[in-house]
């Protein structure tokens, strides 16, 4: 396949960008055309198509739902590592015991890893809950992602040698993982059982997920336009139980987007209901 045959027409770019935006909220500006081509080319090969414009034709045709979902998945970013950005996890470690004391015994703490990718964030939370003695019974973790492939990977709890070396102290690797074939590592059954993973689109009304004591929604909003950011943040605020916390990525803010959440003074990335 020559470069010219795989190149994408402006109309084709607009169509796929429109699809990504309506399905996932991800905003792709024309400078992302190269990224789009790179990420979609394996899918084009798999589907036996010759070019991106052929893919667009197929997407415009009937019975394109599965292919559409695959395109949206391919365009999402799945970068993730254990204990990413440290700070929110330190805050959670201090915050959950206090919250637990305030809620009283018999109350279940609920933590949501929104856009969980391959599960590193949810399992980092699971390790903290276990360390605090809050695992399983007293607490539950929900991980959701718009990519079914990522949800399945997260459920498996299997990570490559490369992945277990990013953010995870070796002492925790030794403590919580076992080595399996192909140089890969699988997280302990007890931690796998502590986290549930589900397909979920952040653009959908999340009320059916229930309410949460802590919500991790980090490095997701950066891909959205302002309106979508506001809508998602307002909904997250609405899902927080009294005293609950939302964690955003280091480069994300609520400023100018919503007044329903305010930063916790001195705690980077942590927000509470105003």
């Amino acid at each position: 396949m020559s470069a010219s045959s795989s190149a994408l027409s402006t109309a084709g770019f607009d169509f796929i960008a429109g699809l990504a935006r309506s399905r996932s909220g991800i905003v792709l500006t024309p400078d992302k055309a190269y990224m789009m081509e790179t990420r979609l080319s394996p899918l084009i090969r798999r589907a036996g198509l010759g070019s991106l414009d052929e893919l667009v034709l197929k997407l415009r045709g009937p019975r394109a739902e599965k292919l559409t979902q695959e395109v949206v998945e391919a365009l999402t970013t799945n970068e993730s590592f254990f204990f990413r950005d440290g700070k929110p996890f330190e805050h959670l470690r201090r915050f959950l015991p206090t919250l637990r004391a305030a809620r009283g015994p018999g109350t279940r703490l609920r933590v949501w890893s929104a856009a969980c990718s391959s599960g590193q964030e949810a399992y980092s939370i699971a390790m903290i809950l276990q360390e605090l003695g809050l695992q399983a019974g007293p607490a539950e973790i929900l991980g959701t992602d718009i990519s079914m492939e990522m949800v399945e990977r997260a459920r498996s709890g299997v990570f490559t040698q490369f992945e277990v070396q990013r953010g995870l102290p070796v002492q925790l690797l030794v403590k919580h993982f076992r080595q399996i074939e192909g140089g890969r590592w699988q997280i302990a059954d007890a931690l796998r059982a502590a986290a549930e993973f589900r397909f979920w689109n952040l653009l959908d009304d999340p009320r059916s997920l229930g309410r949460f004591d802590a919500i991790f929604c980090r490095n997701v909003l950066i891909y959205f336009d302002t309106e979508t950011k506001t809508r998602v943040l307002d909904r997250l605020a609405g899902l927080l139980l009294p005293g609950g916390v939302v964690y955003l990525g280091g480069a994300e803010t609520v400023l100018g987007l919503t007044t329903r959440l305010v930063p916790v003074p001195g705690e980077r990335g942590a927000y509470v209901v105003a």
Binding site: D85, K87, Q165, P169, L173, V174
Partner: protein, 126 residues
């Protein structure tokens, strides 16, 4: 004062690659091709961090580690194993001998940085 790292590996290619990554991360780097050379270097001047291969001629990494712990104490220098040995029992053995962290080869700068943050030799990236 800048941070210092001694890279101990019998492969010149690995030493060169590690040096480049560590210098990018702000370390002043010295090199040694086996444990014995590394031990002599530590006796002259103790680095903040030792990035230590396991299998080397003359003196292997674990022998160096045990000798360094006996000579300089349990905490200094910080030792990060960096090896193709990736079996769980080998990792446990290295930690038992006093290594603070463990890198399984192949590695890249993001892994090295992550490990250096773990051991407190680098601040959390902003």
């Amino acid at each position: 004062m800048g941070r210092t790292c001694l890279v101990v590996d019998d492969s010149r290619v690995v030493r060169k690659a590690a040096r480049r990554m560590l210098e990018n991360l702000g370390f002043a780097v010295n090199e040694a091709e086996d444990g014995a050379v590394a031990l002599a270097a530590c006796q002259r001047s103790l680095p903040d961090v030792v990035l230590l291969d396991w299998n080397m001629p003359v003196m292997d990494g674990l022998t160096f580690l045990k000798a360094a712990r006996a000579a300089f104490g349990p905490d200094h220098p910080t030792v990060i194993l960096c090896t193709t040995e990736a079996a769980l029992d080998r990792i446990v053995e290295a930690l038992g001998a006093g290594a603070q962290e463990y890198v399984m080869k192949p590695f890249d700068e993001s892994i090295l940085q992550s490990k250096l943050v773990q051991v407190g030799a680098l601040p959390e990236p902003a």
